[in-house]
């Protein structure tokens, strides 16, 4: 009865990236993130610890969400348990724990929903698999809703479009409401709301970093590429993930953005008030927190008097920016309407390429044989450019224009079918390393295939989480940790700085 897999392993017998494991019930039940301490919970409007009447409060919250989110209601009602999603989650593929099958993850919440909000569940719970919210069930929620990176791969395959991300966000929102928050996400949200970025980088440190970068680029290229901070009246406000200011390979991407802006001849700035593209309010399903973080960006744009808003390479960040920013913090009628609001740095670079305003020397990347990891939330939660699917085509067009050797990974692991890096959705924390490693397995196997078949040496990504996660897990799978690169790092390598030939493009550099 089982479906014959089309992917197959590599010709040489390397394992199929999407190989379906045997069920190993409960094998990941002990995987739990650290709990958020009271001082992290309270500033976000959540109880400090598990409240006494947590059961009733949880059901109350569930009723509230049921009234506020159509997705919650339709998704919990509509599932027919057809099984289409059961082999689609990278965490299931990597662990075999059946509760990591998307439908089973949803069922953790659905069983309680049915018990309280459906006729059958109230009177015949055994018939429809309804259950009370016991301490044990809550424990499962905490484990398994933190084994979902909200990557939406399951939603591509569900015949009703049920998106487990929505359910795990709702689960986390309910848990926050009863005082059972996750340290990693809530601590970060607190930092953004007080300091302006996930890392808690103060303005002084930021300034020093940016000055160092300018110096470094000047030394390397002889060109005074600027890295401006809080410059009023700049045309563009760049909102990048804060990892771009300190982590590798993120920082190489930031240098790439700066070089592109330099070549475009536009003035730009970073804001020390809104130094963070990522919006972890999404991860915990909190509209209010997501909105607060989004409003910081609006305030920074207003304060600096910029005309355009450009986002750096970050996956969930771009989803929030693209899909939600206008709703949460718009209307942006004070910005220049001739450009998309907000715009992605890849859109910016691609437009410049199309206009023939970038000279790209592909040979500068000849030491690299490249592939591209579609970041999940860019792929399935947003768009780049005007056409549906631009989020797949534009980064590839940029990379191919910058590098002579490009090979895609297996078709059912890229584009809309891309497998998550394993670290998204608030899981990029050390205590969750086991699930992070397991979740990366499909991607690592797909990379192994192209490494063996095409000699691929590097994988470009356009998400701060992907980059950080891969830097950690690549060595666990026998790759070099520097095999993950930023898209704009590849651009940075290839870009020819200066106004030598009045800015006209080098035709050889046009990859498409």
């Amino acid at each position: 009865m089982e479906q014959a897999k089309e992917t197959g392993g590599g010709a040489d017998g390397s394992p199929d990236p999407l190989e379906i494991p045997d069920l190993v019930p409960g094998c990941m039940s002990a995987s739990k993130p650290y709990a958020a301490a009271p001082e992290l919970q309270k500033p976000l409007g959540f109880p400090g610890g598990l409240v006494e009447d947590w059961h009733d409060k949880a059901i109350e919250k569930m009723a509230e969400l049921r009234g506020k989110y159509r997705s919650f209601r339709v998704f919990l009602d509509a599932c027919v348990k057809c099984g289409a999603c059961t082999d689609k989650c990278h965490y299931f593929l990597g662990t075999g724990d059946p509760k990591n099958m998307p439908v089973a993850r949803q069922d953790l919440l659905r069983q309680v929903y049915r018990r309280h909000f459906t006729l059958a569940g109230k009177y015949l719970p055994w018939l429809v698999g309804a259950r009370d919210l016991t301490a044990e069930v809550l424990d499962d929620w905490y484990s398994y809703f933190h084994q979902c990176s909200q990557c939406r791969r399951c939603s591509v395959y569900c015949p009703y479009g049920i998106d487990t991300a929505e359910i795990s966000m709702a689960g986390r929102e309910i848990m926050d409401a009863i005082g059972k928050g996750q340290k990693y996400s809530n601590e970060i949200i607190g930092k953004v709301r007080t300091i302006g970025n996930n890392l808690g980088l103060p303005k002084k440190a930021l300034k020093a970093t940016l000055d160092d970068l300018a110096e470094e680029v000047l030394e390397e290229t002889g060109v005074p590429v600027r890295f401006p901070l809080d410059e009023k009246g700049a045309e563009i406000l760049l909102v990048a993930p804060s990892a771009d200011y300190f982590a590798e390979p993120h920082i190489a991407g930031l240098i790439g953005y700066a070089k592109v802006f330099h070549q475009a001849g536009v003035s730009w700035t970073i804001s020390s008030y809104a130094t963070e593209a990522a919006n972890f309010g999404l991860f915990i399903g909190s509209y209010e927190n997501m909105r607060e973080i989004a409003l910081r960006i609006r305030a920074a744009a207003l304060d600096l008097g910029v005309k355009r808003l450009v986002f750096g390479e970050c996956g969930h960040a771009w989803r929030v920016a693209y899909s939600f920013l206008n709703t949460l913090a718009g209307p942006f009628d004070f910005l220049d309407r001739r450009y998309p609001i907000p715009q992605h740095i890849c859109e910016f670079t691609y437009d410049l390429m199309q206009a023939g305003k970038l000279r790209l020397d592909k040979s500068k990347n000849d030491h690299i044989r490249l592939t591209f990891h579609d970041s999940c939330n860019v792929a399935r939660g947003s768009r780049l450019g005007d056409k549906p699917g631009g989020q797949f085509d534009i980064p590839r067009a940029i990379l191919k224009a910058c590098c002579n050797h490009f090979h895609d990974m297996a078709p059912d692991t890229i584009r809309e079918s891309t497998v998550c890096c394993g670290g998204g959705g608030g899981l990029l924390t050390d205590e969750l390393m086991a699930i992070r490693k397991a979740g990366a397995q499909p991607r690592m196997r797909a990379l192994r295939q192209v490494a063996e078949e095409h000699g691929v040496t590097h994988m470009a990504a356009m998400c701060a989480i992907c980059k950080a996660q891969f830097s950690k897990v690549l060595p666990m799978y026998g790759f070099d940790m520097e095999a993950v690169v930023s898209v704009h790092q590849i651009v940075s390598n290839a870009i020819v700085l200066g106004r030598g030939s009045d800015g006209s493009a080098d035709r050889d550099g046009d990859g498409e």
């Binding site: 159509r70 599932c79 018939l127 698999g129 015949p159 009703y160 998106d163 899909s323 206008n326």
Partner: protein, 243 residues
Amino acid sequence: MLTVAFAVVFYLAAAVLALGLGFRIWEYATTPAPLKIPTAPAPRTRGGVALRLWREAVLFESLFKANKWIWLFGWVFHAALLVVLLRHLRYFTHPVWEWVALMQPFGVYAGFAMVAGLLGLWGRRVLVPRIRYISSPSDHLMLMLLIGIGASGLLMKYAARTDVAAVKSFFFGLMVFDWQPLPADPLLLAHLGLVVALMAVFPFSKLVHAPGLFFSPTRNQVDNPRERRHLANWARELEAGRS
């Protein structure tokens, strides 16, 4: 007595189905979808969304991407069920519409296809460990119910033929509130009893996946969040006093 009982039960079941489903749709329609969450790549126009929903409802596009076996069994079952339902229009129209008369033989084939599709789905539910794991008793019962309806229908056609003229006059009588006797044929009563059960549980079970699809935000939203704000009423309230 039998006629009265079935007539009353049919009226009740029809009412439950219509009101229950109407209520469910009203619930879905009036619950806000506060954020744009179409699964990308998504259509940029209403027309594109209509086409996407059409492909989902008619071709089961996403399911096809997911799993060819489930798609095959599921699609065959649903398509066959549609043909079978249309075939049954002959019990409710007089004179029978021409195209309904013409399709009668196909309706019978569809009866077999429907049961075959259901058996395929049930087979997977029992044999594939992943799907067995996620199944509740109700999931099995639902398949049994549908198979029971299909099998009893086919038996009436091939094993113990029932008096279809009398059945037709019973249903015609129901529609004009002039009750006619229902033949006391056990197969027929089983068939109709199961249909009544299906109608009654429809709005309270996973069968609401039918209207649910059309209200699924990941499928029915236009991809235009940068062009338009998408504020729910409850979210608009947060805006008061904002800069």
